[in-house]
């Protein structure tokens, strides 16, 4: 769906809204809560939430929070497995790109030596 490779993006892409935290409070409630009754049109709110809010929030706060000794979300399997998967995907893409580059370079070199 969304290209995770470009994420987290630059500072201009935070959710717009009051810095007081009221938008954060609202999103926290509107996205995550409420009784789930399956609709006819499937919208994976979890995906949306993870991509736009949770993940961004998670990454942005993890360092500071770790320093502050908070770690209870690490027990959230949805979040940690998702984050781990994204990290692996990213690493995979990076390694593949590197491999391709090396292979190219190697091909060039062998052509030269030939």
């Amino acid at each position: 769906m969304t290209d995770l490779g470009t994420w987290p993006a630059g500072p201009g892409v935070q959710p717009a809204g009051p810095p007081s935290g009221s938008l954060a409070d609202l999103l926290e409630r509107v996205l995550d809560k409420g009784i789930v009754i399956a609709g006819d049109i499937k919208i994976d709110l979890l995906d949306i939430e993870l991509l736009t809010i949770r993940l961004r929030l998670f990454i942005a706060s993890v360092e500071t929070a770790k320093k502050a000794g908070i770690d209870w979300w690490e027990t959230d399997p949805a979040l940690s497995s998702r984050a781990a998967r994204d990290a692996l995907t990213e690493e995979n893409a990076r390694l593949r790109a590197r491999l391709a580059a090396l292979e190219d370079a190697d091909a060039d070199t062998s052509e030269v030596t030939r």
Binding site: L31, G34, V36, D40, T52, A68, I70
Partner: protein, 283 residues
């Protein structure tokens, strides 16, 4: 469960009547005043909000353009922060208006049905658990309480003061680190104590993940982000308790803040309904 056919989503010829789907905001067992509902602005491009009867329950719904609320269109829109905010605020307005006369169970944002009948059928099938949840939320509201801790490096003395030899420098650095660690531990313990105390005044409590500084716009870490379900009859007592805790906290480096009353979004869930949802998802 069927998804919206692609041709229906893309049918946007100007002379055709715009196809709509039914967006459900919330369920209540107390009829909200129809006039108040109809003047509440819902999602952009949709019709006026309506009350739909489903046996003993009432749904607050809105006809929304199918083109903007298809699976892909919606996912794309909601991944844009400004659109997400607009949608979230519209959803919240719909839930609020549903709550104007009695308890309300909010549905997740963008719960969509192809038509009214499907919406009524889906809610009617869950009527029993919805009614017990409404009973649980009746005359209760949610209060959000946050504890923010001291900024990092709050306790740092300048490591450059004092004798300039290497050993003294290292000693000062490790001393400063220890002070910082102790301060963090104290602040965190205090946040836990606030939570413990407030749970005594609440029917239920839950902790949300602490929000990032980017989101709160504050430069201090959030140590506690909790929500409490409070009996209306005990509201004054709860608010007073928060006030006292906030006063106590002022003496140390942490800050206790509160927002509310909220519609009990964080408590509009029951084990039974969650199990049902799981079964449905697995079916």
């Amino acid at each position: 469960m069927s998804t919206l056919p692609a041709d229906r989503v893309s049918a946007t010829a100007p002379e055709m009547p715009c196809p709509t789907v039914t967006c459900v905001f919330a369920v209540t067992d107390t009829t909200p005043p129809h006039e108040a509902v109809s003047v509440t602005p819902g999602h952009d491009g949709g019709g006026p909000l309506r009350v739909l009867a489903a046996g003993p329950l009432h749904l607050i719904v809105q006809d929304v353009p199918a083109a903007a609320f298809g699976e892909e269109a919606l996912a794309e829109r909601l991944n844009r922060p400004d659109e997400l905010e607009r949608c979230a605020r519209a959803h919240h307005r719909g839930v609020e208006t549903a709550a104007s006369a009695g308890p309300v169970v909010p549905l997740p944002m963008a719960t969509l049905y192809l038509d009214d009948d499907n919406a009524v059928r889906a809610v009617t099938a869950r009527a029993a658990s919805l009614r017990s949840l409404l009973d649980r939320l009746r005359h209760r509201t949610e209060w959000a309480v946050k504890v923010h801790g001291p900024g990092l490096g709050h306790a740092s003395g300048a490591a450059g003061d004092g004798p300039a030899d290497g050993r003294s420098y290292l000693r000062r650095v490790s001393e400063r680190r220890r002070t910082e660690r102790e301060e963090r531990e104290r602040a965190l313990a205090q946040a836990h104590a606030v939570d413990r105390e407030l749970r005594r005044h609440a029917v239920a409590a839950t902790r949300h993940r602490p929000q990032s500084e980017q989101l709160t716009g504050r430069s201090v870490p959030q140590l506690l982000n909790a929500a409490y379900l409070v009996d209306d009859a005990r509201r004054a007592e709860f608010v007073r308790a928060v006030g006292e805790l906030a006063c106590d906290a002022q003496r140390s480096a942490v800050e206790v803040t509160m927002s509310g009353p909220w519609i009990p979004y964080s408590f509009a869930r029951s084990d039974e309904t969650e199990r049902d949802a799981h079964e449905e998802a697995g079916a």
